[in-house]
Symmetry: C2
Amino acid sequence: MQKGNLLFAQSGGPTAVINASAAGVIAEAQKSKAYDKILCAHFGMDGILKEDFYDVTALTKKQLNLLAETPASAFGSCRFKLPDLKTDATVYEKLLAIFEKHNISTFIYNGGNDSMDTCHKVADYFRTIDFDCKVVGVPKTVDNDLVGTHHCPGFGSAAKFVATNMEEIALDTAVYEKGRITICEVMGRDAGWLTASSLVATHRGNGPDLIYLPEKPFDTKKFFDKAMEVYNSKKRCLVALSEGIRDEKGNYIGAVGTKDSFNHTQLGGVAAYLADCITQKFGIKTRAIEFSLPTRAAGHIAALADQKDALLCGNNAVKAAVAGKTGVMVTLRRKDGKTVCESLDLAKIANEVKSVPDEYITDDGSNVSEKFLDYVLPLIEGEVHHDYKCGIPVYFDTDDLKKA
Amino acid sequence: MQKGNLLFAQSGGPTAVINASAAGVIAEAQKSKAYDKILCAHFGMDGILKEDFYDVTALTKKQLNLLAETPASAFGSCRFKLPDLKTDATVYEKLLAIFEKHNISTFIYNGGNDSMDTCHKVADYFRTIDFDCKVVGVPKTVDNDLVGTHHCPGFGSAAKFVATNMEEIALDTAVYEKGRITICEVMGRDAGWLTASSLVATHRGNGPDLIYLPEKPFDTKKFFDKAMEVYNSKKRCLVALSEGIRDEKGNYIGAVGTKDSFNHTQLGGVAAYLADCITQKFGIKTRAIEFSLPTRAAGHIAALADQKDALLCGNNAVKAAVAGKTGVMVTLRRKDGKTVCESLDLAKIANEVKSVPDEYITDDGSNVSEKFLDYVLPLIEGEVHHDYKCGIPVYFDTDDLKKA
């Protein structure tokens, strides 16, 4: 009897543990014996539409372990947006034909907000036309802004990166008797979870003096006052702020990306802009540091707790599908000091943003409250140990895979 | 009988292993039993002139181990420049009085080029006036630009940071079918050793396509051609370049730090500038990443080989002093696949810059040659294992020290 095949795809920006979810899906699918073949799309939905698949049915335990330790999307990703079925049914029909041709009985899609929207639409379409394929979403985002889940795989490792770098920058910027104002810009345009995580460094004794999240309107004047107050008392000031901070009217601070009079794009982010303003205005030394892409890419400082959660989500996506569930995303919940996996209807998730709640932000918006530590500490616990060769981590090599 | 005291001080920008040299000095001084007290200046030469000392005579092995794993200058640093004796003898006389008062029989100064110049001047002065205090320099710089030594403690860890991040950025930027041109800016204004280290990532399979060092004049037009050639063939291009690249006339590319018509400082470094130029000129997506300060601060990815070298230099500085040497800097040499410690007259070191030699740079200046791997690989080997608490590394706490 033919059991059908499982198709897995990665989508959106990479994280340090997105491949751990892939490993979790593949391992559980192997264990379940519910599928003939396990396929992974090359370049996400784009690869599906080109029938460009890896056959990962026979990946060994050793290969899966290495995959789970490897940052970035090993099978390739995409920024695919599925149109509404009512507007354009063509892609849906093409997908159906491909799924039928390749006998796909389960489709697992691993991504963030947009990908969960795609997942939702595909699941709905299959239900509407009565096509028996289970569709399950696996959450992924460093920003931690997906609703319906206590936290999101990918966040813990990025948060550990932020907290560790903040600690090390705090040590570095404290070495001179007279220091400067150092402003660190952290990823997260709409939600401040990553920036907030720098509180861990402060909690441990070496961290930022001020922390600004995009959830509260940013008052540049008040910020200058606050930073100068710290500087005047400590002879230095370390600031963490989110790339997405906006003023009361919702305009991004520093108007990054605008053109100057020569039609050149304003270079540098909000940290560089504010640091420059302070130097101009107060004549003191400043430095801007943009944490940038390594925040999500840094597998070498991935959190073990995050890797485990990502694996768990991969496992449970397959379990949900095998149990007959469809149109759901697996979710994480904290229960008795542990992370447990559940699932939630995709209709309740797509296109919502989970912001840092007010209770985690101090009243004047210039810091994060201690309460946040209870939330974040369990998520950044533990280290993933890598093998190193030639001094750098050994990661999974996609060239070792075979195409279907 | 009073044996005299040892005074140690840190100077210049921190590295991930400068404290390992401190631990090496303290441990060897304890072992030698040649000193009554071991003092560390707070904030380098500035602290000496204020008689602001820590007494580290009784630091335990456990404390020294933790110190050796801790990035940034635990005792504080300075940017002190000693005037010429002929111009101004005041500081020299003040130093002498302080050294006499505190019975300093050995002075060990840990720093880069400027610090070795200071060290040299102090040693010369003491010799001239027949003051019996041994003065020994310990090298330190992430830039690896000190002459007279095969390599410099601090470089290996920063190089490991660069190579690891390059590998991870290469993985991250390869996930989409159609990628962009990503330009990474690496520390090193005059010497390209750190930027060159990104070759390790390429050697291992995921690294930059193009590498530009400050040792060769940078031709922006040729760079655009080269980058677009790679982009057109691979649909992506990853570039590593040194913050110090200059054109044929010696002008920094992008004229970072100049003012625009509104008297605002041009924000962002050379990577941001070149990425913007490419987007404007060719209409393709780009990204600039500045590795910045974490390059030297990232203790969590320090190289074990580098830590050992730093310790060794600390040990050998004390041994040299005890053996009666003065006016020297300890140096490192590779011999039979191992690093050995020697020493060299400070007169031969001060104020010279060690550039990356031509043999390590490809003829067209757009990459680093494989030969460089023989040089760099032994220096970035091994990992320093840290304890973690609350998800971030446990580092030495200077608050636990007592002042002399």
